[in-house]
């Protein structure tokens, strides 16, 4: 979805622009350098991915991640205002959001999908998305970020003086977008409820 069209447009625009401005030679060299740049970046990111992967392994197996998930149970129950039957998804919802907050992106998806299916099963009509389901999705895409692992690694390989100095602004910026997401969901849910 989405990315396919953008990718085609970027490539075609680039090729047409290069031809129109007589830069075919530069364009050819640029096209052949993409893979090398990607592999080079991956190699220089290997240290960060191994380190953060290891730290995530410790968080998961020591129970730190599930501890954070348990802390989220009560606030999430209040925030999501489950319809009857939806509360079965609570544990998976909290596990998913905790993993997201800790920067364990990939580890969070299975729990998130389980939670979404569990809530979908509780709907009276199939295919309907309840307020709790949509709010969970928005929370997921705006989740508060405690450890922006990928970006710290990216800054370290680029030679930043203090790779981790983005942690606080990232935390605050993600908190703002999360709060806005919750607020918007509430407003739109109320508006649709009033119209119905």
């Amino acid at each position: 979805m989405g990315m396919n069209g953008i990718f085609c447009a970027l490539l075609l625009c680039g090729v047409v622009y290069a031809a129109a401005t007589g830069q075919a030679d530069a364009a050819q060299r640029a096209l052949l350098s993409g893979g090398e740049e990607a592999v080079g970046l991956c190699l220089s990111l290997a240290g960060a991915y191994a380190f953060f992967g290891g730290v995530m392994g410790l968080m998961r197996e020591s129970g730190l991640a599930s501890g954070l998930a348990r802390l989220l149970h009560r606030p999430m129950r209040l925030l999501l205002r489950f319809a009857p039957g939806e509360e079965a998804a609570l544990a998976d919802i909290c596990m998913n959001l905790a993993a997201d907050m800790l920067g364990m992106g990939n580890a969070s998806t299975p729990a998130g999908l389980r939670a979404m299916r569990a809530m979908a099963d509780a709907q009276p009509q199939p295919g309907h998305a309840s307020g709790a389901m949509l709010l969970f999705l928005v929370l997921n895409t705006t989740s508060v970020q405690l450890i922006p692992t990928t970006m710290i690694g990216l800054r370290a390989q680029a030679g930043a003086a203090q790779p981790a100095d983005i942690v606080l602004p990232t935390l605050l910026s993600s908190a703002v977008s999360c709060a806005c997401g919750v607020l918007l969901c509430r407003l739109m849910e109320a508006r649709e409820g009033a119209r119905a």
Binding site: M1, G2, Y49, G57, L64, T150, M151, I152, A158, C185
Partner: protein, 165 residues
């Protein structure tokens, strides 16, 4: 000060693993393996993005497009260089990551544009991908206000980042 963050995080994790009587070495190795496998799995996506981005960069089309968008972005307190990452972020994490790496190489990792870009990337998610994945898994037919709300929240995060960095 922030240099202490990662060592402290590691110490916290090691202590809590010891407390839970988990084999620290094994847990770390398992996690590191997962991290490295993730990295290998995103390499082809990065290659695709770099192919497009370096084409746009070397031909000068990127600079032309940024000059066009600059006045609009300046009004929100955003440097023109951030435009590509800001647009790619809701679509693809690896695309945004590749564009951010490219931006840091061009502007320097400690420039305001680079720091701002990193904050935005760290603070946000791939709205379209996550949305289609989750709604698809639940068999939802109408996503109602989910995508507009998520995009507006992303935008709020970007504007907040512009004030914070």
């Amino acid at each position: 000060m922030t240099a202490l963050l990662l060592p402290a995080l590691l110490a916290l994790c090691v202590l809590s693993a010891l407390h839970a009587r988990v084999n620290v070495y094994d847990a770390f190795v398992r996690g590191a393996g997962e991290g490295l496998r993730t990295l290998v799995s995103i390499a082809p996506y990065l290659a695709a993005v770099f192919t497009a981005v370096s084409l746009l960069r070397t031909t000068g089309l990127m600079d032309a497009a940024q000059a066009l968008l600059a006045p609009l972005l300046a009004r929100a307190g955003l440097p023109a260089e951030c435009a590509s990452v800001l647009l790619l972020r809701p679509l693809s994490a690896s695309a945004a990551m590749g564009a951010a790496a490219e931006l840091m190489a061009v502007c320097g990792p400690d420039s305001r544009a680079a720091r701002l870009t990193c904050v935005v990337c760290g603070a946000s998610e791939t709205v379209f991908f996550t949305g289609s994945l989750y709604l698809g898994a639940a068999g939802v037919r109408r996503s109602r206000y989910a995508v507009p709300a998520a995009l507006a929240a992303y935008l709020a995060g970007v504007l907040a980042a512009a004030q914070l960095v």
